[in-house]
């Protein structure tokens, strides 16, 4: 008979076994989170615990800022007030004309039987803090699921597009800035209507990619959203071209832009309501449904044939 002596000290599984368990678990999490968006519930659950602490950790900084504002005196606010009044007066003329033009445009569009321009509303949110992740450019704002924010909504400030809502938590939501490396915005050049896609570079700049080396792009060109993505409304200013490198050894020009909006600033931003998808006319949808059924039947037949073979 072979008796194992009982262990003197209970130590649980061996360290290497524990390491492989936890490492495998973390790697699985990394893989699932980067490939599929199925861990949002876990994230939201943990965020209920972390966000209050984070907010508390931000409190001393806010306190210092508020104290600074308090002591900076009434003078600065008076200056700012005067400046804003002047800016409003400056803009009043164009604003009034814009309203008139919009009405006129709508009437003309009706005459020409073109679909009217979409209007949208938004809600003003306050930027709470920048996400600490040094590998991406994201900010956290103070409205979330409670305020019916959904992922994908565009975010603008008073000058142009800031980014897009990418994650929504119960009380806050996360916005990926347009300067993030993974963020792309379909744009067109105001001057000639050339369409392209602008990508973030990660260093605060943007790049207009896939434009041929001889494309008609100039320094100072303004890029606005083209609206082809169905997410951003057309015509929102995005960026300005600052530097163009045309190298004949590459087929594409390297075009660098800077965002128009105060992307890296703190303050208030507006989360625009999701754009409504324009439904196809009833006749077209029925045709599409009828047309779509036939090819599927054919492909089914093909599959059967393949199986037989």
């Amino acid at each position: 008979m072979d008796h194992q002596p009982p262990p003197f000290f209970k130590r649980g599984p061996a360290p290497l076994a524990r390491l492989s368990f936890y490492a495998a678990l973390s790697l699985a999490l990394i893989f699932i989170d980067s490939r599929f968006q199925t861990l949002e519930l876990l994230r939201q659950g943990v965020s209920l615990f972390t966000h209050p602490i984070q907010k508390a950790a931000q409190a001393p900084v806010e306190l210092l800022q508020n104290a600074g504002n308090y002591f900076s005196g009434i003078n600065r606010f008076q200056d700012e007030n005067a400046r804003l009044k002047r800016a409003q007066l400056d803009g009043a003329e164009t604003l009034l004309r814009t309203q008139q033009l919009e009405v006129e445009n709508e009437r003309l569009r009706k005459l020409l039987d073109i679909k009217g321009r979409q209007k949208t509303n938004g809600r003003v949110t306050q930027i709470l803090y920048a996400a600490r992740d040094p590998f991406s450019r994201r900010i956290i704002v103070d409205k979330g699921q409670q305020d019916k924010i959904v992922a994908g909504q565009p975010v603008v400030d008073d000058a142009g597009v800031v980014g897009q809502v990418t994650r929504v938590f119960p009380f806050v939501s996360e916005i990926t800035l347009i300067t993030d490396k993974d963020q792309a915005v379909p744009v067109q050049i105001v001057r000639n209507g050339l369409r392209s896609v602008v990508f973030g570079l990660g260093n605060g700049q943007l790049e207009l990619r896939y434009m041929p080396a001889n494309a008609d792009v100039q320094n100072g060109d303004l890029l606005v959203t083209s609206g082809l993505d169905g997410i951003f409304l057309p015509g929102l200013p995005v960026a300005k071209v600052v530097h163009i490198e045309r190298d004949t050894s590459y087929s594409f020009a390297r075009i660098y832009c800077v965002p128009v909006a105060g992307v890296e600033n703190f303050g208030d931003v507006m989360v625009l309501d999701p754009r409504e998808t324009i439904p196809l006319p009833a006749q077209l949808t029925s045709e599409a449904a009828a047309g779509g059924a036939k090819p599927s039947a054919k492909s089914g037949a093909k599959k059967k044939r393949l199986k037989r073979e």
């Binding site: 972390t50 984070q54 590998f135 996360e174």
Partner: protein, 173 residues
């Protein structure tokens, strides 16, 4: 247990709630808006390594994993990125603890530096390999300050365990 194995002072046993509070404090320290200062060390990594070396039976890979997940959600980074780094650091610290504690504090700090660098390097690899933006070399400055902090940190965290020196001629140690 002694402050280092070559020391003749005997420490009182650690109180578990003190470990918990110190880890929670480190979490809050990490949540401070210090993104503008890249030299700020990763406090949670530092504390996990510290307690994995001092108290491998209280703090280990499980603690590292949970704190790592918390950091991932708070940082809005890839889920599991911090967890993997902390688990590896905790494992290395636990297995090195018998060796590290023989050295004086300055040389201990030299042992901590590669562990802290590994924490950053693992996260760097996990994020940059699939194509995220590289944050630059300043990302690796934090560990050096973390290693410098090892000396004051050891004193501060062992303070509750010190007991007054009472000389007793009859006591063996």
């Amino acid at each position: 247990m002694q402050p280092t194995y070559s020391s003749s002072r005997i420490l009182q046993p650690v109180r578990p709630w003190f470990v918990l509070i110190s880890l929670a404090t480190a979490l809050v320290f990490n949540f401070f808006p210090t993104t503008a200062w890249p030299w700020m060390p990763d406090w949670v990594a530092l504390l996990i390594i510290f307690w994995s070396i001092r108290e491998p039976r209280h703090v280990g890979m499980g603690t590292g994993f949970i704190l790592g997940l918390t950091m991932d959600v708070a940082d809005s980074s890839l889920l599991g990125q911090h967890a993997l780094a902390y688990v590896l650091a905790s494992y290395a610290a636990t297995s090195l603890s018998r060796r590290i504690l023989w050295f004086p504090l300055g040389q201990q700090a030299l042992h901590i530096l590669p562990l802290l660098l590994m924490v950053q390097l693992v996260q760097f690899a996990v994020r940059v390999m699939p194509g995220a933006d590289s944050p630059g070399l300043s990302y690796f400055v934090g560990p050096f300050f973390g290693a410098l902090l090892w000396l004051p940190l050891t004193f501060a965290l062992l303070l509750p365990q010190y007991q007054p020196v009472d000389r007793d001629a009859n006591r063996p140690i």
